[in-house]
């Protein structure tokens, strides 16, 4: 079981964490909502939770709670630029279909 970051995503996260000057890593998660039932969450982590599963990817600590991991296993987080817009993108092998917005999905 694993969740990984591309090197460009890791670079960015590391930079943001340094600028933020606090935080233990990056937390990925899934929660119910959105047009396709599930949605990703992407947050800075200030502390570890007891049941967190921890991954190290390109020097970044990634935290996922066990429930979310079931939906996220094998996911690669990428950082991309599309025109003026730039941000993170989940490449998740588990999903069947996703809403055009890319923020919510279905497994």
């Amino acid at each position: 079981m694993a969740v990984t970051l591309t090197s460009s995503a890791a670079d960015r996260v590391q930079k943001f964490l340094i600028q933020r000057a606090s935080g233990v890593g990056l937390r990925l998660g899934v929660r119910t909502s959105g047009c396709s039932g599930l949605a990703y969450t992407l947050e800075f982590a200030d502390e570890f939770n007891a049941d967190d599963i921890k991954f190290e990817s390109c020097g970044v600590t990634v935290l996922v709670d066990p429930k979310s991991l079931a939906y996220l296993d094998g996911t690669e987080l990428d950082f991309v630029r599309e025109g003026l817009n730039e941000g993170f993108k989940f490449n998740n092998p588990n999903i069947k279909n996703q809403c055009g917005c890319g923020e919510s999905f279905n497994v």
């Binding site: 943001f16 947050e43 003026l84 817009n85 923020e103």
Partner: protein, 624 residues
């Protein structure tokens, strides 16, 4: 497909509900938009990677308005329709402008605010600003991938109600919801995190393209109070370009250049100036339309020398601001540098020497204002935890109403934190008065004629009562953007009137600063003027009362000699009221009081007798 951003712990929003908020620095020369993404505030660049958007709009007969670099490039080619520095016209009437600036524009006088005739029709400064803002909004929405919930827009600290309202109107026209207007120096201080720093006094030194502003701010419990502002609305980077341009002419002995060559050399001058912040010397080369060649080397040393007087010109307003704030250099805890021109090393050096400390320069000086605004916008949009303190602002000039005798009664003093609401009670001056004029004023001086009139409205339907019996509660409310609404209510009857103060436009920056300075300068004179007005009002009241008493019962109760004495005393009082000696008025009023005291006693007796004669004794006893 939308790209995701990293949120603060627990702050992830539901899909499609990111609360996208930006900060906008709507500058005279350049404008910027910034936003907090992934916990970091950054300026949003255009497709070419440029952060700055020249605040220039060009209007043509057919075709859309062009905003930014493209419009700026056509400035000399199409001067009438290419509007630059429109910020100077916001909330200004034509009469305010004529004396100040020479521009190529075809101004149209309009009630409230001046308008400009262009190929695409008559445009108001609000519309031109809206076109600049719209460009920034579209840029932000493309970059952030969604609609904005709102923006914090910055304005100079000395902007008055009219200019703030005009800025808000422009945002509305551009489809932007204004979360708050924020003072530029306050935004710069926020960008440096000073709102989290220890309490104290900070100076914000802002040298931009065409204007210089110095602000002295005091931070207490998360609130920035503007202690003093000063500046020079015609001093900035452009003047440094001009100096280099003159130097080029001196060196090459060129003269009488065409418009095109002038512009070319000014551009070269500006490039040289900017290069000299990083290099000890730079080459200036150009081929003029006449075929003449310019090929010079300018060193930073000689550049510093030829512009030293310009740098010194910023120090005298700085000194004045310090004096107005009543502070010494040792009171200043930090100095924030704002504006592209503060990149020049000799400017930094001079400011450092003046304040006896190194100024803060690690943020990009032309971005700090937008960055601070975006931090504030992010908090206001609810993207940060609620326990973070919201930064408050203060009102720049006192607000009050006119009372009897042309005296200003302050209701909300300047530097009150906003939003603010204050109420004060007033009463009627005359018997049977059924209406009251509420005249809303802005300024620090005691006399109405020295303050600025913001609005006038009438409270009608007051039931007729004796003078002084009506209780009229006047409430002033200033919202978070510094905009005012006033209501007046007669409390015994609940008759109420209210106005949103949409000010009559027309006070210049210089005037605002002058009004503030005058208030210090004339504090003593004003007190004297106030005393005079009070005595005059008091005297008139006495005259009126005596006149009606004499008319009513003078014939029955006064001897000819007494009547003559009273008339003489009244004439003396009338005479002193017309003069300006408040002591003389007081004395004349006292002697009128003296000569009428017997008369007053007799009138009293008579009214008691009249009262008695109409009633039976038991009644009177019962009522005692």
């Amino acid at each position: 497909m939308a790209l995701l951003q990293i949120f603060e712990p627990g702050m992830s929003t539901a899909p499609h509900q990111h609360r996208l908020a930006v900060g906008i620095d709507l500058g005279t020369t350049n404008s910027l938009v910034a936003s907090v993404r992934n916990g970091v505030s950054a300026v949003i660049n255009d497709e070419q990677g440029r952060g700055l958007l020249p605040s220039v709009a060009r209007y043509s007969v057919d075709g859309p308005v062009e905003v930014g670099y493209g419009a700026q490039a056509k400035q000399s080619e199409d001067p009438h329709n290419t509007i630059v520095s429109v910020k100077r016209f916001m909330g200004r009437g034509l009469s305010d402008l004529q004396k100040t600036i020479d521009t190529p524009y075809r101004f149209v006088d309009a009630p409230g605010m001046v308008q400009i005739k262009t190929a695409a029709g008559v445009k108001s400064p609000v519309e031109v600003s809206a076109d600049v803002l719209k460009t920034l909004r579209v840029r932000a929405e493309t970059a952030l991938g969604g609609d904005l919930v709102g923006a914090v827009i910055t304005v100079p600290a000395y902007f008055d109600d009219a200019q703030r309202q005009a800025t808000k109107d422009a945002a509305k026209l551009a489809g932007i919801n204004v979360l708050r207007l924020l003072n530029e120096p306050t935004a710069a201080a926020v960008a440096y995190g000073l709102d989290n720093a220890s309490e104290g006094v900070y100076a914000v030194y802002d040298l931009g393209g065409g204007t210089f502003d110095i602000s002295i701010l005091r931070l207490t419990r998360g609130v920035f109070e503007v202690l003093a502002t000063n500046g020079d609305s015609a001093l900035g980077g452009d003047d440094f370009d001009q100096r280099i341009y003159c130097w080029i002419l001196e060196q090459t002995k060129l003269s009488s250049l065409g418009a095109h060559d002038v512009r070319l050399l000014l551009t070269k001058a500006r490039e040289a100036k900017e290069a000299l912040t990083k290099h000890p010397e730079t080459a200036i080369t150009a081929v003029l339309s006449t075929g003449q060649i310019v090929d010079l080397i300018l060193t930073s040393l000689s550049f510093a020398g030829m512009t030293e007087n310009l740098v010194n010109k910023t120090l005298s307003p700085t000194r004045k601001a310090m004096r107005d704030a009543g502070l010494g250099i040792e009171d200043i805890k930090g100095v924030v540098m704002v504006g592209g021109s503060t990149r020049m090393p000799h400017v930094r050096r001079a400011v450092g020497e003046f304040f006896l400390q190194n100024p803060l320069t690690n943020l990009d000086p032309d971005k700090v204002v937008a960055i601070g605004a975006s931090i504030q916008a992010n908090i206001l949009a609810g993207n940060r935890s609620a326990d973070e303190m919201l930064l408050l602002d203060v009102i720049p000039l006192s607000l009050g109403i006119e009372t009897m005798g042309g005296i200003t009664e302050k209701i909300i003093p300047r530097n009150s934190t906003i939003p603010a609401a204050r109420a004060q009670k007033f009463t009627t001056f005359k018997d049977g008065q059924t209406a009251m004029m509420i005249h809303v004023l802005q300024g620090e001086r005691e006399l109405v004629s020295d303050c600025r009139s913001l609005a006038k409205f009438e409270l009608r339907g007051i039931p007729p009562m004796v003078a002084g019996a009506a209780r009229i509660l006047v409430t002033f409310q200033v919202d978070a953007d510094g905009l005012l609404s006033v209501s007046a209510r007669e409390q015994s009857t609940d008759v109420e009137t209210r106005v949103e103060v949409k000010p009559s436009y027309g006070l210049s920056d210089v005037e605002i600063t002058r009004m503030l300075q005058d208030s210090y300068l004339y504090a003593q004179e004003d007190m004297a003027a106030r005393t005079l007005r009070e005595q005059q009002t008091e005297g008139n009241r006495l005259l009126e009362a005596t006149e009606s008493a004499v008319a009513e019962s003078g014939g029955a109760l006064l001897t000819a000699k007494e009547l003559a004495d009273i008339s003489l005393a009244m004439a003396t009082l009338r005479e002193t009221i017309a003069g300006d000696n408040h002591r003389a008025i007081k004395m004349a009023a006292e002697s009128l009081n003296q000569v009428t005291s017997d008369f007053a006693a007799r009138r009293m007796d008579m009214s008691v007798r009249q009262a008695l004669s109409g009633h039976r004794l038991e009644e009177i006893a019962a009522s005692l």
